[in-house]
Every structure is written in C-alpha cells, then in structure tokens.
Symmetry: C2
C-alpha cells in the first residue's frame, strides 16, 4: 500500500471507528455466535494472490463484528496461526485444525515463547519423574534439570533458564556457528553421568549474530531419543520458510515439540506478533492450570474452545490476529514470498560488492538478509570503521563478535529498501573505510 | 473527545503518518540527542487542566521525533511513570526522578507485574541466604520459599508462584474480605517454625471479586519487620487513588517494595498498559542480568539511561507511554478525577436502587465502581437470575462467589456510561428478577 492509498484507507478506518462508537448503543452487548462459528466462514488457507481492501473490510463487518471481541479474537487467532503454519508447511501435528492436539498462539516476543516452552518442558519432566518416584520433590528435581542451547543462541534463552530456575549450558558450535550432534551428545552424556537430568534443548534457526542454522536433522533425533523437549527459535529466519527454496532450512522441525518465529521481524506484521506452535497444547496449558484434571473433561481444548490465557504469561490479550489477517490477504502468499526474495537478493548484491573489494572479507555464509563482513585486519580497525559509520548517521550498523573477531552486520530489513539504497550504503562504507585506513597509516 | 472531533483528529493523524512515510528518506537514521534529553523538555507533572490537541501534536514533532524510537521511547516512559506516580502521591522512593533508585515501568498486565516482583524477591532472598551460607544451593532454598496472598487474591498470583517454582499460601481474609495482621502473622510463624522461608506477600487493593482492600497498615509493617518483599496489586482500584478522597485507601504503600495498577482498566488508557513501580530498581534488574557486577559500574541505571528490557519478561517494547502522554494531557488531572468520581457516583446510585428493593441485598461494601448484590435467597435463584439476564443480552454481568454465596456483580466501567444506563439496567434486572421469582413460585 503506497502513501496515497494509505491516506484514503486510513481515513476510511477512522470513519469506521467513529461510526462504531456513535452506533454502539444499537449493538448487542454479547454475541449470538456459538464456539467454532468462525472457522467455516474463512478459507482454510491464506490466498495466493492479494485480496482487495474492500473485501477485507466487508469481512470485518460480516465475520468479526458478530463475534465481537470474544470469541472472534480467539478464533481468528487459531485460524490465522493455521494459515501461517500451512504457509511454512509445518507438520500437521502443529496445527489446531478442527480437533488437533497442537496449535498456534501469538506471543509478544520470542523471549516469551522460549520461556513458555521451557516452563512447559519443566512441568512435564517433573510430572513424569514424580509419577515414577512419588517421593521426589519438585525442588529435588529442579536442582538437577539442565537445558541446552548453542553458544550462538540469543541471550533470552539464558534468561529463560534464570527465570525458570534451571541450569542452562552452552553447546560449542562448529566452524559454521551451528550446533551439531557430537557436541550435544557429549554434553548430554557427561551430564547424565554426573546425575543431572537433561530436559530441554533450544535449537536456533538464523542466529542473531550471523544467521547461522543449528543442524536440526542431527539434533532433533537425539532430543527425541533422550525424551528431551526440543524448542526451535527461528525468530528472524522463520519468515523465509514461506518460500519453497528456503523451506529446507526448516527440515527437522518434525522432531520438535515447539516452534517459534516473529512475523513482526520480517513478514510485514507490525510489532508485536511472535508466532508459536506446539504439538501438544496440553503440555503448554498443563504447566499453568491449577487443576490438571480440569484439563481433561469437557471439550475445552478441542480446537473449538481455546483458552489462550493458559498459553502465555499475561492473562489479557490484544486482537493481534487482525494484523495477520490484513497482511496475509493484502499481500497474498505470493506477495509475501516476493518480499522475502527481494531482501535476500539485495543481501547477495551487497555480499558480491564486498567480495569484489580485496580490503574486505565476508565472515559467515550469506543465506538470508544478513551480511557479516569486516575489513581484513585487526578488530581495532573494524571498531574504528563502525564508529565512523555510525557517527556519520547516514546508515546504521549493529556489530557482533564471531569468536574473537569483531564483525560488522549489514541487515536488509526495511519495507521499502531498493538496490539503490544498497549501492549508496556500500559507497558510503567504502568512503569511511578509506578514511579509516588512511588515518591508520599516518 | 467526541466522535466528530475523533473523525477530524484521526484523519490528521493518518496524514501525519503518511507524510512521515513519504518523507522518511530525508530523516536521519540515528538521533542526535544525548541520554536524558527528554526530561527537561517536559513539565515535571501532569497538567491539571486539559491541553489542546494542537499542543500535543506539536510536542510530538518537537520532543519525540528528534529522539526517534530510542531513546524517546524509554525516556518518555520514565517521565510518564513519574507523572502518574505523582498523581497517586506515591512516596518519592518509587519515582525515578533525576537520580532515584526506584522508578516505574509499563508492563503488559498485572499478572506480569506480580510475576516480575515475585522473581525479583526470589533472587533477592536467594542471594541474601547464599551470602550468609555459601554452601546453600538455589534449589535447597527454593524448596523452602513461601509466598502469601489473601484468599481473595486474583488467580494470577497463584500462577506466578507456579511459574516461579515456589509455594503460595492463601491467608484467610476477614469478614470484609480483607487480609489482616493476625492471620498473616499466624501463617508466617507457623511456616518459620516448620523451617520454611517466607519471602513474598501480595496485598490486594480492590479485589476482583468484590473490590475489598487488604489492610496495608497492618500487613506492611509485618512484611518490613520480617524482611519479606511486599507487592501491592491494585490492578483495578489504583486509578481511583488520583482522587484525594480515595487516596487514603493507598495508605501503607510506603511499606511496599513494589506497586502495580492498570491504567488500561480505569484511567482511559487503551489496553495494554499496566503501571508498575519499584523502590529499588536494582532488585528488579538484578534478577535477570547475567553479570550482577555489571549493574554497578557506569551510570547505566542513573535514571538517565534505563534499560527496560531488564525490567520485564519480553525484550522488545512498544511505545506505550505515548498513550499515557496523550490521555493525561487531553483530560488533565481534573478531567481524569471527574471521570473516576462519576463512575463511583453511578455505582452508589445503583447501590441505593438495590437497597430500596427489599427482595435484594448488597453483599460487600461499595467503595468504587463495583456493586456486589443478589436476591435474598438461594444460590440457585441467583444463578437463574444471572442466566436470565445474560441470555437476554441487554446487559452483561459477571458473577462471583463470596464465601458460599453466589453473587452478581454490577460494574460501572464504560467511558460513556450515564445515569440513564444505570436506570435502564436496574429496571431490566428487576423485570428479570420478577420473572425468576414467579417461575420459582410455580
């Protein structure tokens, strides 16, 4: 949507809200619909081609308004998470469908998703061990629990461990910054021999530092064999998996218990919108419901009636699935795929510019929209380059350390980025680099 | 703001956003401002009288835009939380000021605030006990930790205990549904004698069921004497404390370590916006920072540079303080006080209608905007009345249990509610009651 259409549609929306407020006394205070009303009114999958804005707005009045905030808010979320799961070709087990045991939920951030997964895994292992040995206290078990992630994982994983009161160990990544079977297996064996209880592994697809990918096809089977919960954090990279050519990066998701990525990062849905799926919703809700027997009676968790407050830390919820509905329909799957592909193509364009300049080096494989690069030479000269670039305030780069190397990160992430911006940025970087190198020679 | 002004202002805002997007390439990618730039540009307290919309918008361009999303998002939040703290006459220790040790943060919900307080208290007591006895493991301490709240507290308190992996005990409330000194003291003594470690008390001001108030002036000193963290959950009632006549309900807050209420409930700020203050920000951030020594050097937590990601579960943050800024200025403190007073007056109006009808009884003292009432008689007849009312869908009531009594709750909570609505609702309730009583007689 360009600025001129935004002006028009935005003003129509303002009128829609004002009309709603003016006519509110004429509306019923409580909806007439029955649980499960919404799914049959909506296609089973996102459209391939864009829908018109008129169609979407007319569906708001027809489909959402009769369901008011509740149950429409819950039901649209369940269906949108199924749409998105299908776009990613997630295994069927992760979808809510009409009576599935899995399903998706919108969290606020990947940090919350990781924490929820860790807490669910913690409860599950405690229940299992207490069922085997009824004398074991929760504290006695928790003291021995160990969670694992790669040494490249986001700091929020370590934080989830702190909050959950369990140990978290970093598995050394390989030369491509990926977690591999051998290192994980070694850690698990060592800890089990020491009497500890491995219970949770976070695999990262698209690390923050350099967009590396843990080896799911190796790590997944180990987790399944050891009966350890596998959570996948694909916060940034997940959006790319809607493109068939990037979907292989997600192979191995079938071994996972939970999977998360952030449509607010790279799928044009405004912050916040973090999409999380689980294979067994009862694992997630069981961690926080006070009476587990209550879980089992009634069709409360049948896919028709989903009580999302048991899936998350806060109780209150916003109607975030509306953002997904609008974006998926206004772009269509093809439009979203084109958006991802353009960004990846632009990052390769930047990569090839860097590779053509012998003063620079590429520091990690470029897979999606991130290019890690640096001047060949000391960390000091690269720190000076970064400082010069960020002080000029023409572009802004966030650095990282890869092992001992100080590295600059060029991230393609704006909705409106074009090749011309990449060219201008590269010319600017070269100019700053020339200045830095000249200053160094003096 | 009425619907007609909303139409005008809303469309101006749409144009503002479109102009911003169209002109974005002309803007600098990184702000020029220094940390702490914002506070001197904004008054030290909220205005008493409303500001004009023009003034507010012009301040957006002058004050917010030069600070971009960062640091403006953080700094406006700190200042707005100080404004709001001053409206409530919170003790100075809770304010950030220019170099305070305390301060406020916007959480998503009261559940999150309670959880953050519990986690901070848990870390603090573990550190204290490990400093005294370095051989104590975290698990050995956690096994003995006990948190307390009234038996009227919200279920989210019990949930925080589950997530935090600590015991939570319910203190029997008195005849007015309030937690009192004697019952709390008895529980503490019993648990200490049994070798347990009391570490956290949640006092509720304005319970969900009947808007009762725990006795802070009794409970507070006990918590301080026992070195137990006192958290106050005033999710609903907190907004009323901006009125001097209701401020005495908050007396005793000076004994608390943390305090929370939800401006999104009753202060005209849209969901979500849950305001939380702590006396010692280091207690909160210390629970989640991986290197506590890092806390102490640099002026990172001086009130100028506040890293809110250490204050909450998620890492990402929305610019929620803008909502507060707009609302506080558009209403002025007097406008907000008038709004609260009107609601309280309307609830008393409903209360007196109920009291005039001998078939009904009032079930709890009416202090703010909630009236708990029922037909004199069995729970069954009241359940039938509720069902009849909610099936008619003219009004909607949410019930509760007070001890063994099934009780109806009439909540004044709409922005546009007037005496006429209360009258219509009461006539409707009387009609439904007559039908129920007649049906019973048959």
């Amino acid at each position: 949507m360009n600025a001129s259409e935004f002006r028009r549609r935005g003003k129509e929306m303002v009128d829609y809200v004002a009309n709603y407020l003016e006519g509110i006394e004429g509306r019923q205070v409580y909806p007439d619909v029955e649980p499960g009303y919404l799914r049959p009114l909506i296609p089973a999958a996102a459209p391939q081609e864009p829908d018109t804005f008129e169609d979407i707005i007319s569906d708001i009045e027809k489909i959402i308004m009769p369901g008011a905030a509740s149950p429409a808010c819950t039901e649209l979320e369940t269906v949108m998470m199924d749409w998105l799961g299908k776009m990613l070709e997630l295994p069927e087990a992760f979808l809510a469908g009409k009576a599935g045991e899995g399903g998706g939920v919108i969290q606020g951030s990947a940090s919350e998703a990781t924490l929820m997964a860790l807490l669910a895994a913690r409860t599950k292992v405690i229940h299992r061990l207490q069922a085997e040995s009824p004398d074991l206290t929760q504290a006695a078990i928790m003291e021995k629990l160990v969670a694992y992630s790669s040494d490249q994982a986001h700091s929020s994983v370590e934080r989830a461990g702190l909050i959950g009161g369990v140990k978290l160990k970093a598995i050394p990544s390989d030369g491509n910054f990926a977690m591999r079977a051998s290192a994980l297996q070694e850690a698990l064996e060592g800890d089990k021999a020491a009497g500890l209880i491995p219970f949770f592994v976070v695999a990262t697809l698209g690390t923050t530092t350099c967009c590396s990918f843990d080896n799911l096809l190796e790590v997944g089977p180990i987790c399944n064999k050891e009966d350890v919960w596998l959570h996948i954090d694909a916060a940034y990279a997940g959006s790319a998996f809607i493109c068939p050519e990037f979907r292989p990066l997600l192979n191995g998701v079938e071994f996972a218990d939970s999977f998360n990525f952030n449509p607010h990062k790279w799928l044009l849905v405004n912050f916040d919108c973090s999409a999380m799926w689980v294979k067994k919703r009862a694992d997630l809700t069981g961690a926080f419901r006070l009476d587990p027997t209550y879980l089992k009676h009634s069709h409360q968790d049948s896919g028709f009636i989903t009580d999302y407050r048991h899936w998350q830390i806060p109780l209150g919820r916003r109607f975030r699935s509306l953002k997904m509905w609008f974006v998926f329909r206004m772009y269509g799957v093809k439009g979203l795929q084109a958006y991802i592909r353009k960004h990846v193509q632009l990052s390769h364009e930047f990569e090839s510019l860097v590779r053509q300049d012998p003063r620079f080096e590429i520091c990690a494989e470029v897979t999606l929209g991130l290019v890690c690069f640096r001047l060949k030479g000391s960390n000091k000269v690269n720190e000076a380059l970064l400082q010069r670039i960020n002080s000029a305030k023409k572009i802004h780069l966030v650095p990282c350390h890869l092992r001992d190397k100080f590295v600059l990160r060029f991230a393609i992430c704006s909705r409106t980025v074009e090749s011309a911006h990449v060219q201008v940025a590269w010319e600017h970087i070269k100019e700053m680099a020339a200045n830095v190198l000249q200053a160094e020679r003096k």
